[in-house]
Subunit: 448 residues, 2 copies
């Protein structure tokens, strides 16, 4: 079944970097194995749409097996990598077997960082996986249902509070979309509460939101967010996250739902390689994307620390970087096979886009070409639709978007899993509701 | 805000029965409150499509709030009912408040029954909620991923075994769809295993599958299932369900994934009313759908035991029964308001349909009109599409179906949540794999 003489390439991670490497390697005379803990590729730029009930998980994810079309030379395995033996050229799986390689491509991506406060994780979920997204969706929708129920008991409507920690692209997207939902989608769906009274607070540590964007676009984003009703606090670090509240020094902000969009940490598999990593744990790679001392080992995507030739700064963790690096690694392996010289990687920056809400976005297409509002949003929509994996998803997502745009509705307003929010009981105590009966809280329905 | 003089109707349950009652009552001068534990209505006839990765949860469910359009006279509350005080006309909520009513419509539906073996529940999930469906989907897809991984370690492919307990419509749908998936959709997606070798076993206690259908259609269903490669055992009760296996007396069947499609039990809220119930716990209702001694209390849908005038048997738990009863209750309340005489409920049986797979189904449209195969399947598709709540869902589902039909693909092949199967370790022991490394099993990633 196997052509045993072919070089064996093992790719770890089915994200943008790993998938693009695999697709290009499929054209070479190599045997490829793609390993991932999940069975699916997640289109991360649209995760916030799942978290805010606009799209369903199935619309932004596809099975890796389906994308890559298994054959004798391309294999997909679901499994968790726990370590490496670079000398013996082995990948160690948790499931207790080793996989040997001639080339290793590590593209395991990034996860959240709570800056040493891992106890904040259950109180303020971040947005990296489909599970994260449906959990955030659950909390957002449940907040209004619980507020309505409570108001029906006490006769007094209290606003829902959202606090979003981190004003990068994810934080801005979440804040903008939440504003849109509360001002439009569900604005008249309730009787006792008025979702328009919802307070949305975005807290950013840097002096401005979207700190990695040009200053004029940050200001534009801020303006667009404020117009939507989002309150923004900049230059401010959160000091404590507790059930029902967020603290910033002495200031206490009530928070029905707290979302984490602040820190990113590299996958621990970076450190497991045993070569040099930077402060966030990303592996410092050579200009050809291999790691020092191991030309047969490449690290790409969010897990790689690649110094940009122009700025000297590491390239940001963006999909275009990952895609280009994935393709470049395949090209360098091809050079090896033909005994040619490898090429250095150069990032071709076509610009960056951040969306804020319905017809609101910012776009940075190089030094002079900054724009915002509807044109930026339309460009964002077009680009993301084009990159969505698979024709079918693209069509469905287009229909969903057209529907949302025309009707202000969101299609996936489902609360699944537990019917509880962290801090809901505490918040009730905090507000000193005199109603004694509110105290016994609903038991969580453990749904997997 | 409230027109205090209007009669207050409280509806418990946002399924077919409750929703249809609410929609008709919206036209009367009454104040309606709909209570449900979930925020969404689930289109149960298509749950098996979610469980088998054909549709996404968002495509077969919609928020009750969105369907019913809140206004001063129509309210939706998410909450759990724990009891009743029929004398004082109060509904008791777990959240610690009582809701008073002039009319009570109880439409709380049914749940699984494991015939006294509740310990089987985690080993053999049933299919009643979206959470059930995504859990079953997770187990089905994971079974193949784990089998592939294992074969990649041992070099020996072992078939995946599905055992479905119960040959009613749900069991038949699940068995047929699983056969289709393994013979077509994922047939060539794996390297080490061959999904075509998957064994699908359907166990039915009655002498034939679809025991409530006319005999010729049962035989047709059986024939269509066997043609798809499903093994069927009839006249047989499961005696034990254990991790990795199902026992029928002395016979032991290996089972990678066991699914429960056998018993249905009425919601415990039926008994909580304190009036007469039948053996499965359904409330025995008067011909006008009210309960004896309480003309202001109605029970409808799967929770009602209504003796059919023709057969004397209780009406089956089907969507058309629930829909017609919901509308009938609204009509009887309307009669009350006009001081007219109430009408007895008569079920208008337009026939029943069960689907088996791609272009395979059976239809019973009355005494002479039985048909099966493609025409029955097409009718099934049309009827279910028409009843799907909301135009948008209908369009999306139609696209999904057209896509699946043309390409044999399924769109929602996502494994979310834990990466473990119950009994996976045990099954490995059962088969006495000599590979020692297989024994330490992957830790479950607790995803909500």
């Amino acid at each position: 079944m196997n052509t045993v003489t072919l070089p064996k390439v093992v790719i770890i991670g089915g994200g943008f970097a790993g998938l693009n490497a695999a697709q290009r390697l499929a054209k070479l005379s190599v045997e490829v194995t793609v390993l991932d803990r999940k069975n699916h590729h997640t289109f991360q730029p649209l995760l916030y749409q799942v978290a805010t009930a606009g799209l369903s998980p199935g619309e932004i994810a596809a099975p890796i097996r389906g994308i890559l079309k298994n054959n004798d030379r391309m294999r997909v395995l679901m499994g968790e990598v726990v370590g490496f033996d670079l000398e013996r050229k082995l990948v160690e799986l948790r499931e207790g077997t080793d996989i040997s390689y001639d080339y290793l491509i590590l593209a395991a991506g990034a996860t959240h960082s709570y800056f040493g406060h891992d106890e904040w994780a259950p109180l303020a979920p971040g947005l990296k996986t489909l599970e994260d997204a449906t959990e955030i969706r659950r909390r957002i929708l449940l907040a209004f249902e619980l507020a309505e129920r409570r108001a029906s008991i006490t006769g007094k409507a209290e606003p829902v509070h959202f606090v979003i920690v981190g004003g990068g692209p994810t934080g801005v997207e979440l804040a903008g979309t939440l504003a849109e939902i509360t001002r439009n989608t569900i604005a008249s769906d309730f009787d006792w509460i008025n979702p328009r009274d919802t307070r949305i607070l975005l807290i950013e540590g840097a002096p401005r939101v979207l700190p990695h964007y040009p200053e004029d676009l940050s200001h534009s984003a801020e303006h667009q967010l404020r117009k939507l009703g989002v309150e923004i606090i900049e230059n401010t670090m959160v000091t404590s996250i507790e059930p029902g509240l967020v603290k910033v020094g002495e200031q206490v902000f009530p928070s029905t739902v707290t979302l984490w969009a602040a820190g990113v940490a590299a996958s621990p598999l970076g450190k497991a390689l045993g070569v040099g990593v930077d402060k966030p744990g990303r592996v410092i790679v050579n200009p050809d994307l291999s790691v020092p001392g191991h030309p047969e080992v490449f690290v790409i995507g969010d897990l790689a620390s690649f110094a940009d030739q122009k700025s000297g700064q590491p390239l940001p963790g963006l999909a275009p970087v990952a895609i280009q690096q994935g393709r470049h690694v395949a090209k360098n392996i091809s050079h090896d096979l033909r005994k040619e010289k490898r090429e250095d990687f150069h990032y071709n920056d076509k610009g960056t886009l951040a969306t804020i809400g319905r017809a609101a976005a910012v776009a940075d297409l190089g030094k002079k070409l900054h724009f915002s509002g509807f044109p930026a949003w339309f460009l964002w929509l077009f680009v993301h639709l084009m990159y969505l994996v698979g024709f079918r998803n693209r069509l469905l997502v287009l229909i969903e978007w057209a529907w949302s745009y025309l009707t202000y509705q969101r299609s996936a307003r489902l609360i699944t899993g537990s019917n509880q929010l962290p801090g809901w009981a505490q918040q009730q105590t905090l507000h000193e509701t005199s109603e004694p009966s509110v105290e016994h809280e609903k038991k969580s329905e453990a749904a997997d």
